[in-house]
């Protein structure tokens, strides 16, 4: 732990400092070594190429869609716990506890193989226009993953709502802001501000939770790579490739959140 620096006015100096150049050089050397010393022939197989592209695309949209739906649910859930009346707070709490307390894999499994296999035995569902949708696997994946985000982020939002200094809300109330406006304009932005780093991390976690959907036949990138590995028994190369894909996606997420964070004041009074 170094000495704390005075914050707030550090200017963005040149990206290329000497140590950065060394780090980049090492990274480049590693990548080159991987490219030339390992066996990448499987990547040339057109069958795998299409599978990989499809897989990456599925991973991306599942992450985004479930994250968005989940956050939209998480905000009221967090709020209900932080400031809601008991008849909202208690169910929200129970929901978060159950979701966070049990493995996502098992939730997914119960939803798809449990609930999902009940539907076909109910004739009117089978007859309805919804059946083609309910027959697919991805709706279950989206529901399960979104609920999972809602559960985890609901908890995070609860802490964030509670952490906003008292005076900030008093100022809003004193000026006659309706409760919802105060929530939308003051409470929520400040709460989000405090948890942006956390939510950034949770988004990455969500990205890495998507492999679970392969267990209900949604073939995202992890499943595709798993399949390639089992087809060919090549051990590390597909894994390295997978790591690279996730790293790129994570990089995008990190950049996105950094951009969000950059738009906020650094210091809280």
């Amino acid at each position: 732990m170094g000495a704390p620096r005075a914050e707030g006015h550090e200017q963005m100096t040149d990206f290329l400092k000497p140590h950065r150049i060394v780090m980049i050089a090492i990274a480049v050397a590693l990548v080159l070594a991987c490219i030339f010393l390992l066996n990448w022939s499987w990547l040339e197989n057109p069958k795998y190429q299409t599978l990989i592209l499809q897989g990456i695309w599925r991973t991306i949209w599942i992450t985004i869609v479930t994250m968005v739906i989940g956050m939209l649910l998480a905000i009221p859930i967090g709020l209900a716990q932080a400031a809601g009346p008991w008849y909202l707070a208690v169910p929200a709490r129970v929901f978060c506890t159950v979701i966070r307390g049990t493995p996502l894999l098992m939730q997914l499994w119960l939803l798809y193989y449990g609930l999902g296999s009940l539907f076909p035995s109910i004739p009117w569902i089978r007859e309805s226009d919804l059946w083609p949708l309910l027959r697919q696997a991805w709706p279950y994946a989206v529901v399960a993953l979104s609920l999972s985000v809602a559960g985890y982020e609901g908890e995070v939002m609860r802490g964030a709502f509670k952490g906003v200094p008292h005076g900030q809300l008093e100022a809003a109330r004193a000026m006659g802001m309706p409760r919802f406006t105060a929530l939308r304009r003051i409470w929520l932005p400040q709460a989000i501000h405090r948890v942006l780093p956390t939510i950034g991390g949770e988004t990455v976690l969500q990205l890495k939770a998507t492999p679970l959907v392969s267990t209900i036949t949604v073939m995202e990138i992890y499943a595709v790579v798993g399949r390639i590995r089992q087809d060919t028994f090549i051990i590390y190369e597909p894994l390295l490739f997978l790591a690279a894909v996730y790293m790129c996606l994570t990089g995008l997420i990190v950049l996105l959140y950094r951009w969000f964070e950059g738009r906020m004041p650094k210091r809280v009074a």
Partner: protein, 263 residues
């Protein structure tokens, strides 16, 4: 000093703006307010003075229900705020509406830390009162100019000096063009020059017919700005009256002692 102007306004019947009757407030065991009453009419400037911890801020905060009174009545603009038995407002709408016409400047400023100064000022006009944005910006900039902060309009509160934050807080309260204002030590972080400026702002507002209740520790300021002074001691009104009387001929011994200190 424009004593005559204020005295002139004090006479004649003017509509009542803020009235509190027999206000009590306890925090747990401690009774902070023990029955305070006050009436402020249009154009009135009431200065509340008193020792630290005597309940001045609490009284101000009760007026717009930031604290729920333990008992007592609060009447704003002739309308009594309906309370539940526990003192919380029974009708959220009513209290929100009342607050929109009650500007408040906090002792600790409470500027919104995630917004620039300008954004702080236009927040309520634009999002609550539905003033068109450019109009709100124009008003806000005029106010900022008046308190000498126009250059800082795009700075975040955490990067301002204490006095600048206080001026921004005053400007924010003014930006909603309230009918009545509650000031909690509005000049505590200001130098004499700025105190003079705030004084003139308050006088202008009073001349426009607005009502003001202000808590202050600066007796000179209280004397110059108010037409009614209230001395709070230990949660009770120990003495009140026109400033000439309260400062010039205090009857209560405690008030005499209070005013005597620091020569």
């Amino acid at each position: 000093m424009t004593v005559t102007a204020r005295e002139g306004k004090a006479s004649g019947p003017r509509p009542e703006r803020i009235r509190i009757e027999n206000l009590h407030k306890s925090f747990g065991e401690i009774e902070v307010l023990k029955g305070v009453s006050l009436t402020a009419c249009e154009g009135d400037v009431v200065a509340v003075i008193g020792g630290s911890g005597s309940g001045k801020s609490t009284m101000l905060r009760c007026i717009n229900f930031l604290e729920t009174p333990t008992s007592g009545k609060i009447i704003i603009g002739g309308e009594e705020i309906r309370m539940r038995p526990d003192g919380s407002p029974a009708d959220r709408r009513q209290i929100e509406h009342a607050r929109q016409h009650l500007g408040m400047v906090f002792q600790s400023f409470n500027l919104w830390s995630h917004m620039t100064i300008l954004q702080n000022l236009i927040e309520v006009p634009v999002h609550v009162l539905k003033v068109p944005k450019d109009q709100a910006v124009a008003i806000a900039e005029r106010l900022l100019d008046r308190v000498g902060l126009l250059a800082k309009k795009d700075a975040y509160p955490a990067y301002l000096s204490g006095g600048q934050q206080q001026r921004a807080a005053i400007a924010r309260a003014l930006a909603i063009e309230p009918r009545a204002m509650l000031f909690d030590e509005p000049t505590s972080a200001l130098d004499p020059e700025l105190v003079g400026e705030v004084l003139s702002v308050i006088r202008d507002l009073a001349a426009e017919g607005r009502t003001m209740i202000l808590v202050t520790h600066e007796m000179k300021f209280a004397r110059e700005v108010s037409n009614h002074v209230m001395y709070l001691y230990n949660g009770l009104v120990e003495e009140q009256g026109p400033p000439e009387q309260v400062f010039g001929a205090p009857r209560s011994e405690r008030l005499q002692k209070f005013l005597k200190s620091l020569g």
